[in-house]
Subunit: 345 residues, 4 copies
């Protein structure tokens, strides 16, 4: 067969591992040929291709990023986009397509499948907020980086009587904050699913300083103060839109540190991990998961299992309908947060 | 309640995280008191205790080893051992016991439970070979260390036309070798479940050197050559017993490198990771898993769920009968090995 | 002899290694006794002591922070401070004092020495800006952390057409930024010694995006725009004073990213490493340097070499007058910056 | 100018950083052209070249190995070798040559320079045993890897009453063992410069186990027992020659562990780091040093400073005569060993 591959959306450690597994198994087990589409859906839309074979995937397993490039292009927001894609896939002689990406990329894949394109999906989100799969690759890498950062902060916090705020990724879901907070032994974890009360946070800081000399706080980039607080000088905390109309990735960390210092008089400092969490080499877990997603995806193509998405369930990789995987965001439930709460405060 | 805690068997990153979670939740949610038993089953056997409270578990989350010490003492091989344990538990005023350990430690726990001791188990094996749970803590740390080692070897192997053999842990099961081999992009993975043919290994080395300049081979400490080879000079490969009657932890790596070099004329070198894999700070995944095992274990104590063992299923921690968890070793199946084989050779 | 030890100023990986070396050599070679003074100069000022012997220094080599605690207390700004210190040293039966700290702490040591206190200094600054020594411990750790962060950013930057700004420590001197920028392969390095022209920075960004798709920029926390720019909307860039009158540690990174994005229309994101750089376990180089400083310091005490500070010159540890070591800040010279400039732009 | 570049000898983190710096500065500051010679002296000997320009050196800074390949080919042991080299350099239009390598590679460079070839040398040895320079790149990386391994062993050693032997690189010089031993807090360090007495080592083990429960021992691959011991069953400890006539890289670690266990009855295990130490990404220090060596080397070419080798002195890169740099091995002096001995035992 002749199979197209593309990667869409934000950077995520493990993308190259998926591509390598797809190509290795395709070539060695099935004698497939591959076409690399560049820059997400922009590739099939504009006919941007690159060679993709054993030579191209050599040595890419430990490397972050994606050799195929990425974009946030959505062909459904472009007139005639779908027809162009169909035409370009036909022109490239592509029998089937493997789309690796998050909610947006797989949402496009779902619609294209409904329109007759033979597509198989591989889920990707560093935030781990896709339903249908136990974990997504990239998440373990991000959590480890955040957790190592917290480890390093413990000594400083203890020697210097400070509040240290670590801002981690997680626009809608607090998984990175929650796991890193548990793994790093943080005192406070603030997540988007649970708007926080700045007054309560400050009261906690003051109480803790009565007996201890440090507070380590992990905050998701998407965490927000409760409504009431918006009137008391915390409006900025909700995040600003940038020049592109996206909510700024950074911001809450430094704002929270400023606010706590102003209100409690305790020195507070922010660490903003930003893109460090999504770049660089993947952990062993993420490489293993991404590789197995890739192996299963090319298998699904040969089984004619189109319209499916790969998912981890326990230690098995299974195929679930694309629509199911992207139907709703997987959020931290109150029970999951409560389980960890014994370590906070 | 007054709860005893002990850790048995070999070192494993995450032991301290379990202890900390048990104590934190026990004290904060239930008002429990704790007794630390030292050095595995030797503790309750000989009445060796240590204080165990919030102060003792502070700062231990990122630390390898176990603050309680460990041993391989088996009370069932000592006359009157069980009676001594019962007497010492009573003397310490202990209502229930949490035993953290592997096959041996939990085997003792199972028998004691049958004899009326109120015990809850937490599984621990770096080799990940306990049935009943998707993963055990310590395994992810070991795989990451082995995988980082393989990453480093790639450049040397490529610049210097060598065979590099990495010996990893795994006496009976090849999980560490398999996962690290997949994550590191090894060319050959030899595991205990699949006796290897040294002639076939050497033929592969020679074939690969026709087009490539390096071979990276991962071998479990417990991997063995097939019977037939024992007659052709490979007897040493089966491993020697040490002064304590145990099969030597190391050995197969250096022996295999020697044998390959002698047979093929290609320079071959061994890396023996040994105890590096089981010491030191746990990964975020292992801290998260160990912490959740601990939280669930103290919960099981308060639910009166004795005779159970904590287990990971998907992303949930469930309780399974102790007998089930230790009934049989979880080995790499032929299918699981075959899945990865597309990367080997 | 009976020797007092204290640590002052900000956190720095390697402090515990110095303390351990002092005590180990003192006890084993000279039969010394030690008194630990807590929290920098506050310790001898208020008579705050702790036991300090072989037991206290066991296991602290790899740990960040300082077991003695630290503070920025300056006895010369307190009336009668010097007399109190003399009285407390006498009361503790201390024959000599080893002071480990930066410019401020050693400045106090210098003055006390002039007033007759037997003191030996060990230099400490994560910024590496103390003259008289080739390197100070802590610096190598900070540079490695910053350099690993830059490594991770490369893949994201390349996949996503972004400007990534990494803010590192360095209030007055740009050593961390310069070394991390060289080691990480940054495109732009902005340091305090060389006020930058925001228009020039933006022109560079635009030029680079004509052929490349990413800019990685390292900026010292103390970097400032040139005067002229203050009129064109960049006033905030000079940093704000916090509630304690210090210039805020953070700030320039996020401000610079905002400004670049606003001016060029390219997405720009900041990473603020903050205290991660000064916490946690030291690198091997820093442990080696700190250990050797400690060994030399206790030697200096026994040689009666008071009023000296330990310094690295090549691979030797030498003793220089305290006054010399703190006389002036060691800044990045125009030649040193120019040497690296071939990689920038 | 048209400048040739080659790398010879064993792998060493930082080689690519040197190549990149040479090319970047050569192209940007001087408008140079470059010729890459492949596989050490084999390249100019056999006329094996590859393109070398800005494109080839992009992204290689963090990568281990060498894009030019390497070999141990010595043109002086091949009849007519020197003439061939001169002819091939002329044929390639090369005005000058930069040779990056250790004792052997630079020894050839020295002789070629005497015979009129315009050559500049950059020293490279992971063992740090070249005189004339404070440090060589690669060494810091190796020491960090060994030191991290020792960190991990501490917890296991403590929990399990064991002797753990870590074998590190160092055929003739014990620098890696000494620095890693100091940085990791080892109890015993055995180096080639100081033949050891196995009986003394075992006596120490027994004494230490009277009060402690663990011994961590670092041993250079080239460490040897004292003569007298050869008669008492330790002959194997001197190492065997392999099929290529080299002394085996590994061996002493496992042999020492076996011997100690047999003699003392204490469980002893070996870790053999092997090529892990010389592969993979360089530390920030090594990247900085290698980069500065490269910048200085191309400067020396343009200054007509042939027959020189780059050297680190303090924080400066200086040029020393090639003959001086390779005149004698830099070994650990008795004083340097004694300085650290306070931590051993």
């Amino acid at each position: 067969m002749r199979v197209g591959v593309l990667t869409g959306g934000g950077d995520c450690p493990g993308l190259n591992a998926v591509i390598r597994a797809v190509v290795r198994k395709g070539v060695k087990e099935y004698g497939d040929e591959f076409v690399g589409f560049r820059d997400g859906w922009k590739g099939p839309l504009e006919g941007l291709t690159m060679p993709l074979g054993i030579d191209q995937v050599r040595g890419i397993l430990p490397r972050g990023g994606t050799i195929l490039g990425s974009s946030r292009t959505n062909p459904f927001s472009i007139e005639g986009g779908v027809e162009q894609i169909k035409a370009n896939l036909a022109a490239a002689g592509v029998d089937a397509l493997i789309a690796i990406g998050g909610e947006d990329t797989l949402g496009v894949a779902t619609k294209l499948h409904d329109l007759g394109v033979k597509v198989v999906g591989v889920p990707k989100t560093i935030d781990n907020d896709l339903s249908g799969t136990d974990f997504t690759f990239g998440f373990d890498t991000a959590v480890n980086i955040a957790s190592e950062a917290i480890d390093r902060l413990h000594t400083t916090a203890e020697s210097h009587h400070r509040v240290l705020v670590v801002e981690v990724m997680g626009r809608h879901a607090g998984w990175i904050a929650l796991h890193a907070g548990i793994a790093g032994g943080a005192n406070v974890v603030l997540i988007p699913e649970r708007p926080f009360d700045i007054e309560e946070v400050c009261r906690y800081v003051e109480t803790r300083f009565e007996t201890k000399y440090a507070v380590i706080m992990v905050v998701s980039e998407g965490a927000v103060p409760i409504e009431a607080e918006d009137d008391s000088g915390m409006t900025l905390l909700t995040g600003e839109k940038d020049a592109f109309g996206h909510v700024r990735l950074g911001g809450i960390g430094e704002r929270l540190a400023n606010e706590i210092e102003a209100r409690t008089g305790k020195e507070a400092r922010a660490v903003v991990l930003g893109h460090i969490q999504r770049g660089g080499t993947p952990t062993a877990f993420d490489r293993w998961l991404a590789t197995r997603f890739g192996l299963q995806a090319i298998g699904a193509v040969h089984d004619g299992d189109f319209g499916t998405m790969m998912a981890l369930r326990g230690t098995s990789i299974v195929r679930v309908p694309l629509s199911e995987g992207t139907a709703e965001l997987k959020l931290v439930s109150p029970e999951e947060y409560a389980e960890a709460e014994v370590f906070f405060g």
